[in-house]
Symmetry: D2
Subunit: 351 residues, 4 copies
């Protein structure tokens, strides 16, 4: 490619924005052209994140700064719900491809969006309903071809990514009852973002594990909606742990067929044969969150509990990579016809 892909990052100062900046800096075919954030406008990004000094010292602009109203090839909205739905349209009109991290474009019908927003107690009015249907759910392992043709991608949530990748092959093969699937999910603290909060203050967290919001999560909608055409219901438990990065989701379903672990391994490996970021492993594999830290991999460990006829899947990602910025970059690669792992083909830091 002669000309580099010009990228604009909206929400540049959060962990999601930082993540895509870090990745774009290493990408051979893309470059950062504009940084936008509500806070810290006027500063340089390396003032906010000193480890970037010398690598990226670009200024941060307010969203309405004339300096950042040009045409970009790709715009990343690393922003909360309702920002992308307001601003994506203008970017698309100028010819940009848009990747949005929020719930705004994870659903492809207005009804589905409204169900999601209502369950969460949010305003159910979508600000760009005409875009719904043109957008694609940004999980290349399930929707590669559609993403390749799309201009607007809703980047999946981190918990949902781990659950959907862990469950999809079993559901497609009708291995498990699609109702009452158990998603027991554990996340590091960075999943809650950059903002300091009492429950994440170091002394309150360093020996603390807790479950939260047992009554319901946005992730439930996302997991239930986006399986391949089946009617799925899940019980979902979110838990926070004292690590910085990582999600480990343990998923349980009632087997509907007599299968062995070898059978399941085979089904999963075939399902992900074209998906280099998913590594399917047997129940004896010694993997954990450190196996994927800093990478875009999803490690999936399969096991069969014959006594209780349960399928049990352990699905492991880095919540800031495959769960956020890494997957966003993977989507960009697919949208621009690049090899999917461009700029992502590197082992993590260890230890």
């Amino acid at each position: 490619m002669n000309q580099k892909i010009k990228a604009k990052v909206v929400g540049a100062t959060g962990y999601g924005g930082l993540g895509i900046i870090d990745l774009l800096l290493r990408h051979p075919c893309a470059e950062i052209s504009a940084l936008v954030a509500r806070e810290d406008a006027g500063k340089r990004i390396s003032d906010v994140y000193p480890h970037l000094a010398g690598f990226c010292d670009m200024p941060i602009h307010a969203a309405d700064d004339p300096a950042v109203q040009g045409k970009y090839d790709v715009v990343f909205f690393s922003t909360p719900d309702r920002v992308g739905m307001a601003d994506a349209k203008a970017e698309l009109a100028k010819g940009a491809k848009v990747i949005d991290y929020s719930g705004d474009f994870r659903f492809t019908t207005l009804a589905a969006y409204q169900d999601y927003a209502t369950r969460l107690g949010k305003d159910p009015q979508h600000l760009s309903p005409e875009l719904l249907g043109t957008n694609v759910y940004g999980m290349p392992e399930l929707h590669r071809a559609e993403i390749a043709r799309a201009n607007l991608v809703g980047n999946p949530g981190c918990f949902a990514t781990s659950c959907i990748l862990g469950l999809a092959p079993a559901l497609k093969a009708h291995l498990v009852n699609p109702h009452g699937l158990v998603c027991d999910c554990k996340s590091g603290v960075s999943g809650a973002g950059k903002k300091a909060k009492p429950q994440f203050h170091y002394p309150e967290r360093c020996e603390q594990i807790n479950a939260y919001r047992l009554s319901g999560h946005q992730h439930v909608c996302e997991v239930e909606r986006l399986q391949a055409g089946q009617d799925v219901t899940v019980v979902f438990t979110a838990q926070v742990l004292p690590i910085s990065r990582g999600i480990l989701s343990t998923l349980y379903g009632d087997l509907t067929q007599d299968v062995t672990e070898a059978d399941v391994l085979d089904i999963y490996r075939k399902f992900y044969a074209e998906s280099g970021f998913v590594r399917v492993l047997p129940s004896t594999a010694a993997v954990g969150t450190m196996s994927v830290r800093g990478t875009n991999f999803c490690d999936i460990v399969v096991s069969v509990d014959a006594r209780t006829r349960k399928l049990r899947i352990v699905s492991i990602i880095d919540n800031l990579m495959k769960g956020q910025a890494g997957q966003a970059l993977q989507n960009m690669n697919v949208m621009f016809g690049l090899p999917e792992n461009t700029g992502l083909n590197q082992p993590g830091m260890y230890p």
Copy 2:
């Protein structure tokens, strides 16, 4: 009580031995009379654990040292499987009450023990089969009266304690299908004991969450056997996290009745009405492992997922307290007719 209870601690240098030493030092009616350990015999316990200097400087004896063959009121075997079954008999014969931490006396029939040992790939021969039947499973919340009459108690495992306390009221009330219960358990590293191992080396653990031994655990037997007379099956997942102390078990069962969270709260609170160490809490409770750290409490959070008809219980203990030494002391109190919380009635350290 005019005369203090004289206690002998076998396995004094592990975390389980240390735990009971720490508790006995604060107990108003008991005193430590002998310390036994295979390693470090000849040293003082405060050489091994400097924080005990000035509080307990007693020598550590080898098991066969003549100095520790006297009569004690209570003997704690904080030892691996097959030590207590060999040595408890002699202590009982001298008139001691015995509390054993291992699997040796958690089962009250030879068949049950052999099933357990076989599943674990251990020698199924029990060295004191004549004691089986005289022993009691040491969970006062379920077996208080029997423990009060017993001379030999098998102290429960830490994972099993969290699961059984979380499931027992629901099973007794026939709220859930007893088959295919999901026990998703997360433990701090101290649950693996004091011995340094590669997977618990600080740099390998500080960002690591992993599931292990997916193929099966001793805990399954313990949980399945010891519910009130029902035929129960569970799928059990053990996971290790970078905290020092604490277990959080998330338990899922298929509801067999239409119940609300309020109904379940009521059932659980009645079940534990006499059990001061169990605190039953609604789904909105903001608790975690730090709520129970350093204490003998078990915090149980109940929730009902109406959409999937699942009962979900979050059960939280300190693995070294209610999961080990605390429960052992609670058993001692019950066996000696003391108030159950003697020497245990203290809030934990925070933060």
Copy 3:
């Protein structure tokens, strides 16, 4: 003592207030009579700290609430600078003894206070200058007799406690040049208090060590002023580490005499012969912050570097205990004629 000491805690919801509550709950001769805090008035303390549920469920009052204007035997001001200096007088007038955690009463002359306030860029006007001179610096190891006679005690800072206890014997014995002493101090995060801040957000802290405010600290004044009559100057470096509790201060001075480690051990042990909370140890001692966690001990390791003629002292405390609430309780014991370790005579939690 027939009648328990009635205590009022002002600033009850911070870590310093929580610390003294936890200690008073276990104290055999004292009881909590009133809790005051600016935030959370109207709640119960166990709403703020759930681990206290069942142990202390008292309500939190605003400072001016008529319910807390009675006479108390002791009032703890666990408050920032300028609260105690405004409110202590009224409490003293009602006959209470007062222990203040802030800088307000750590200096016994107006000039010294003003020097401190000026160096820190604070308002140099003291609101109760007439009390200066009646107050005592609350370090029993150095000022036991004065504290026993005092009604008003300024509780030392945590960093200063570790430095002063580490340096006092050497200065008194003229072992070191009193000028240019190096105090290299490392603290856990709880030393910064309960309030969540960006630099203590778990993901920003878990792998972070940093030095801060190199240009100067309040602690310098406190260390320099309060040595036994000598003119002392120190260079002081504060560093924060990812632990919850603990301070380890490494102190360096230029030896003025030819001494061996044995000589220094002897001098230090004699100096602290009556001070049970100070444990003097040789350079080979294997101690660290976990040796004192949850206790009021100060572990002091002495070493002599003959090649460079340096005395090096490692001084270790729990910043929330000997560095704050523990020392406050120790002061209370001394002020009320109780054995100094009443309610403090317990080993820490391990591990």
Copy 4:
């Protein structure tokens, strides 16, 4: 460069070996040709470090395996003392350049080596004395030209790197008295290597800070010997903290001149003008170990304490990068005439 540099890594399974493997995998002009280790020979490196699966699956060979006796362009000895001194000669004879991580080639005269070995209680006999004098101390910031001409480089120790980089400009400019310099050094646990040890067992370390081996360290020799021709003495304190990666060394010297912080900044910046990996910062800089994690940078914060006439330098590195493998690769680049930051020019992972 048409032909890639062929590298052999001896000691491939330790953290130092892993570090250079990770770096070589990303290096545009080098490739890994052989992996050697005493343990795990026969396995693949990705069996030992699963995060390398798909990136490096090469087999591990025993040192004497015929398969690894060929000619390599560069050999890294990531091995303990006395391995490199035995085996480097043969590699040099075959035409390889050698970079050794141990103390074997950090001294350029036999007398200096023997002094070092004797102080440490090691065998003072060097196995390749004829090589001493041909070797260079591998700190490019001080010895760039010699390294460019050398075939044998002794890679500096991690503690020494942080101290020497922090002190060298001040010593060269005669800003400080070269005697009695204080090096107060704090390291993460990975500095102790990969082997699990009781003091690094997660529960024993997560709240533990401690100083160790107060009586003396190999690092003292290294720091004292290798300053630019001056007679230097230091008192050195090594402390271990619960982080995985990072060293923060706080260095103190007695000023011999009246200088301001601005003067010192100027002197340091000039000294390191050609050294892109050293970032010199004022006393107000908000940096810590996370600023350099995963990178080859050394952040140096300068401050002047005018009252005590002390120069205070805070020197921060990643002990596994600039303190070990990163510096080794930097040396390789210099030895092969490549730009010094080839393969190292990347910001660290954050958070």
